[in-house]
Amino acid sequence: MKISDIFSMSFKNLMRRKIRTLLTLIGVLIGTTSITVMMSIGVGMDKSVNEQLRSFGSLNTIQVYGSSFYFYSDDGENNEKQKLDDDAVLKFSQIKGVEAVSPELEAHLRITSGNYEAHVSMVGIDPSIMELFDYNIEKGRLLNENDDGAIVFGSNVPNYFYNPRDSGEMGYRMFMIDGEPPVDVLNDNLKMFYNSYHFGEEVGRERGYNVYGVGVLRQNWENDYRAYINIDYLKKIMKDNDRKQRQQAQSDEVFSPMGRSSNSQSDEYSKVLVKAKDLNDVERIQQVIKDMGYNAYSLAEMRNETNKIMMIIQAILGALGAISLLVAALGITNTMYMSIYERTKEIGVIKVLGCYLSDIRKIFLVEAALIGLIGGVIGMALSYIISSTINFAASYFMGSMDPGQEQIKISISIIPIWLVFFAIGFAILVGVVAGYFPSRRAMKISALEAIRNE
């Protein structure tokens, strides 16, 4: 038999008993709809969690810190403190799957503009890889190579400026995000001082460095409270400061352990960012770095934890849907058995007329699969309606809870295209499986049934 004939025969059989077919279809429809809606909620939750994590920073990035304690390797030997220096940066960049490595140097500096000043956590960074590490600019531009003295500010930093003569204001400024900061960091003249606190009383005599703001970053949890400057420029300033400190110490003939220790650390970075090419490599790379004896953190690690929880939630929701589809499968099996029972004589006749057993089986399998397919397709349409209703309701109720934001769109339920194909495919599969035993029964019906007269 031709496939088209098998399909048309199966379809005719289904159409013969419209009500029974319809009732069986409704079972499948409810099953696929509940699976799809349940899973869409799982997908939606997964996505919103991932989005939230992403707002904390790039998921591909691993933050590496030098070990603050002595590192004990497994064999008990080689107990040495791992230094976060240029060698380490080179080693990291050679790990398979690493896209870029960005060493960072951090210093606490003071920036002044007119009467205002701010204490800023200044990060020295390689300007060429800023873009790669997802520093997004809000105003102005990112750092260029060779622009010494150019600063990119974290979105919150301009609010740090305060007038030291208005005592007590500093504490408030940081929280007054709405008000305009008193200093326009992109246009006003800025001066930067290397501001070690034990030097405080000598500030007035320091000359400071001329710096200028070139950009402000987009709001981001990780870098809101930092400012960025060319790392080579920062190194130079730190060396200058070291030298001054030593001169000071010598001239005052005061033993300064701080000065010495900062000198010995000047070739070490405070932090190194490692970016993985592929999100899936992050964990492996992180482990390699940890094995080297460094402290390494990533959001991916956190993501994996939440992923596990999400998978469990999705599995539970999916299982709930699957149960209803299982019931639908029993419905299909029942319908098929009844239909075969009624058509015993007809099956005998077509056997006598020379129909292959395999074709008889196909006719019934296709019939069951068609129930699955039609139920699946209608179920998808229904799922979309339910899904958008859920999202509409969520946006309506949850949106109005937050008066600051007007009608934000909340997607609790997301039906990705793979879920559509998966659900329809699964419905067809359920149909075929449910139709398997009935179709075997049909095959085994004797041709003699055709002769029997009731």
Partner: protein, 237 residues
């Protein structure tokens, strides 16, 4: 004339619980191509069982059946289906048309199983429906036709594949005598036209009298075989 069916030492024994029921016992028979043969016997004589075994609907317990030199009892289900498609047509007592299909669709069923194209199927079916005298009932469903008309559709379905052998199981059993005669005439003319072998089971001696050969069956055995001679009378051989 060439032999087309050869039955040797054929037995069919049913087991009903612990008892054995002998339906056919040691049947030997040879049928010729183009012959119209009747199996005549009372109900329970085993004539229908003989037909079923010949058509491959049942396996014999013993003995062999060769149709066109093919041992039918040894064929697999698949080969048997193929064999039926090519060589055998079947006419039922209660017509056994598929109720939700119209006349043309019913007649084309054997062609559908053969995998013929739709165009070919419809052409052949319409041709043969015209030949059996139903040119105006092509799109009628079985329920819209009389018994005689339904059996004509059944006959058309049996002959549409040009089979060498057509089996008919009490084809006039549900029809009145006038219609019976018409249907019988139709079957005979369709098989004689193309030199087809027609094998019919009946309990009606008047119908059997139309055959070239009458096989009397009693208690599962062939009692005697009569062949019609040129004068139209039968003689035992």
């Amino acid at each position: 004339m060439d032999s087309i069916i050869k039955i040797t030492n054929l037995s069919k024994i049913y087991r009903v619980g612990s008892e054995k029921v002998v339906a056919l016992q040691d049947v030997n028979l040879e049928l010729k191509k183009g012959e119209f043969c009747c199996f005549l016997g009372t109900s329970g004589s085993g004539k229908s069982t003989l037909l079923n075994v010949l058509a491959g609907l049942e396996k014999p317990s013993k003995g062999s059946i060769k149709i066109k030199n093919v041992p039918v009892e040894k064929l697999s289900e698949k080969k048997l289906a193929e064999f039926r498609q090519k060589n055998i047509g079947f006419i039922f007592q209660s017509y056994n048309l598929v109720n939700y299909l119209n006349a043309v669709e019913n007649v084309s069923l054997p062609l559908v199983f053969k995998g013929a194209s739709k165009k070919e199927r419809i052409k052949k079916s319409i041709d043969i429906l015209k030949a059996v005298g139903l040119p105006r009932h092509l799109r009628h469903k079985p329920t819209q036709m009389s018994g005689g008309q339904q059996q004509r559709v059944g006959i058309a379905r049996a002959f549409v594949t040009n089979p060498d052998i057509v089996f008919a199981d009490e084809p006039t059993g549900n029809l009145d005598s006038k219609t019976s005669k018409e249907v019988l005439d139709l079957m005979i003319s369709l098989s004689k036209e193309n030199d087809r072998t027609l094998i019919m089971v009946t309990h009606d001696i008047n119908i059997a009298k139309r055959a070239d050969k009458i096989v009397y069956i009693l208690d599962g055995k062939v009692e005697r075989v009569e062949e019609r001679n040129v004068e139209g009378t039968y003689e035992q051989n």
